[in-house]
Amino acid sequence: MEFFEDHYLRLVTFLFEGAVQPALYHLGLMEWAEDGYDWLDFFLFGLLQVGVVYVICRPLEAWRPVERGQSARAVRTDVVYTLLARLGLLPLLGFVLFAATQVRLEALVADSGWIPPTLEGVFPSLRETPLLAFAVYVVVLDFFEYWRHRFQHEWRWWWSLHAIHHAQVHMTFWTDDRNHVLDEVLAAAWLAGLAVLLGVPPGQFPIILMVLRLAESVSHANARIHFGWLGERLLVSPRFHRLHHGVLSIGASGKNYAVLLPIWDWVFGTADFRRDAFPHTGAPGTPEAYSRGGWLRQQIEGVRQLARVLRGRGEKPQAPRVPAE
């Protein structure tokens, strides 16, 4: 592992010192040098993530596909979403637009005397075991992600954006990042709010982060795979999450909201553990652009739909009577 880490660092350093840092210098942006290094790291790690996810998920989809003959065009749109999200272009845009605001908010928080806590501060024994602390953060944040996901479905204005994620009728592992930009902004704000209340999780476990990311991609894979009686209750599987994306599970009528740990659905009564159900995916009743449009068209239509709902003209999402497979 150290061998790979060493070579990875050398590559990051080579590119940073050879290209990124000189460019920042010439642009008079050296004050952003450390952020530039972080972004390069994010970009290369994102590239590595996409590669790892592809190498693992693509064979799974070829081995046991739920649906054959998927539209290459529809999948390409999801690839665009993934590359924009994972290679740092959208986060970079967000950073440029919101960095100053974030600094002001942080200063405001600091000025108020409030110092954001950490879970390790509440449970000091976690300090000596960063890996355990990380695991606790994963569980706690997954709990809040479950509820964010439920609100995305239950609040009509939020659903008008999140429906883009669900409108994909050719769901593959690429679909994981298919989210409207405003939906991503809301997710970031949600996490920022949690950071003020709970602290931010430690970020020193890139390999584990990659595994978690892989698990989320696998859950979207077009693969007829379940993890067995016990496994289905421990980790979100392709079957478990496909049921959430099923046409009977749109809007407020959803099931299986968990992102990583199905226990939240179990606890809050939204779980469906049928292991033989692999329904068609999609969000009937949403605009045609949501399922057939390209990235830009979906973004524009998403804003339009949000405006309609906010003006009170949006339609309540309804689950059509389409039988599961």
């Binding site: 050398r10 350093t13 940073f16 010192e17 840092q21 050296m30 004050e31 954001p116």
Partner: protein, 395 residues
């Protein structure tokens, strides 16, 4: 006897065993900002003894005024970590807002903390850690230096290209002066401030009385930090874009030598033998440069190592061994005069030799012609460029 009691009883012993290093082996603390940890190195074996977890993002460390405690700022974790520098044992933690760079006043009364991300400078009572004042700054307060009389603290403002002087008697900004693009490191040196401009090749000098700013010396692109050698004869300056280290005559401010140091050299700490221990920020390593021989060794540490501190473990030598040496009158915490050696205390025994007098003869041979760098800097004098011949990597 309960197991937990036994564990508590034996824990200090186990900790000592874990940190046990051969007699007279110095210890080095390296703050890995990228993976929230502190590496403890055996300076003699060039090996990592232990990696201590921190909370989020450790950047800089300073000694308390009495030299007894190493204070580490964890900016992302919003806390200061107080360590025993001779063992690495945790003494205390204090919650403060986003401590990025920090320094004690020379009189030991104040601890000033700069928060790069939150655009603020905090003044604490060093004894009680009570927050005495918070000054909002326009953009990215970065590095801190004091005047020897402890009246003023000077802070570089990276975002606006300025230095702000804060009067500690009123706890208010006394004046602000534009110094150049993206100032970073700052030290007090012989009645003036020396400031590295990351957006240029220059270190500038600022006269705090007249507020006049002029070029002090030039290095490579991305001038960053400067530190005085313990013997007071040299300053060592780093540049980030042209990754290297420059040795500067402390009296004349003439550049004497350049060492090519890959990986973005950042913070520097001296060992008692005059070697420079510096973090190589982008490489995840520490570089150990012996200026007498030009030998550069590398030791693997955590990601994005930033702050560094060498703890001597030699008879009669304290953590603040440099405070009794001539170089103590310069730096971010300049003393009015070097401290008197305490009974039984010995100064560092092998200081760095005078510049140029022992210039190493290294392949491919020291250049005595003006380099592209010196011409760009507008210097008439040649710069002796030394490329380290031996780069050894230890794990």
């Amino acid at each position: 006897m309960s197991l937990s009691f036994m564990w508590r009883a034996f824990y200090p012993m186990l900790l000592c065993l874990a940190l046990a290093v051969p007699a007279n082996a110095d210890m080095v603390f390296v703050l890995n900002s990228g993976d929230a940890s502190i590496s403890v190195l055996d300076a003699r074996e060039r090996s990592e003894l232990r990696r201590m977890p921190a909370l989020r993002e450790v950047h800089h460390a300073v000694l308390t005024p009495d030299g007894s405690t190493l204070v580490v700022g964890d900016s992302g974790g919003n806390e200061l970590i107080f360590l025993d520098p001779s063992t690495g044992e945790l003494r205390n933690r204090v919650r403060v807002s986003n401590p990025y760079h920090l320094e004690y006043s020379p009189d030991g009364k104040y601890l000033v903390v700069a928060s790069l991300r939150r655009d603020q400078v905090d003044i604490y009572d060093a004894g009680t850690m009570a927050l005495l004042g918070r000054l909002q700054q326009p953009d990215k307060p970065s590095h801190i230096a004091f005047s020897p009389d402890s009246r003023f603290v000077y802070v570089t403002l990276q975002g606006t290209g300025e230095v702000v002087a804060i009067d500690l008697s009123t706890r208010a900004a006394a004046w602000t002066v534009a110094v150049g693009p993206e100032p970073a490191g700052i030290i007090w040196h012989r009645g003036r401030l020396i400031i590295g401009l990351m957006g240029s090749t220059d270190f500038v000098q600022l006269d705090p009385t007249t507020k006049a700013v002029s070029r002090a010396f030039s290095v490579g692109r991305g001038a960053h930090v400067v530190v005085p050698s313990p013997d007071g004869r040299s300053l060592y300056a780093t540049a980030r874009v042209e990754s290297g280290l420059w040795e500067v005559d402390a009296e004349t401010l003439e550049v004497k030598r350049r060492f090519d140091v890959p990986g973005g050299p950042d913070c520097i700490s001296f060992d008692p033998d005059g070697r420079l221990w510096m973090t190589l920020r982008w490489l995840g390593r520490v570089g150990v440069l012996d200026p007498r021989t030009g030998t550069l060794e590398q030791i693997r540490v955590g990601r994005s190592p930033h702050g560094i501190f060498v703890m001597p473990r030699r008879d009669g030598m304290r953590a603040d061994f440099a405070a009794i040496m001539p170089g103590a009158v310069s730096g971010s915490r300049p003393l009015p005069r070097p401290l008197q050696a305490r009974q039984g205390e010995i100064p560092a025994d092998r200081p760095v030799p005078p510049v140029m007098s022992a210039a190493p003869s290294l392949a491919p041979g020291p250049s005595v012609q003006p380099t592209r760098n010196s011409r760009r800097a507008g210097l008439d004098m040649p710069i002796l460029t030394v490329t380290p011949v031996r780069v050894e990597t230890f794990r």
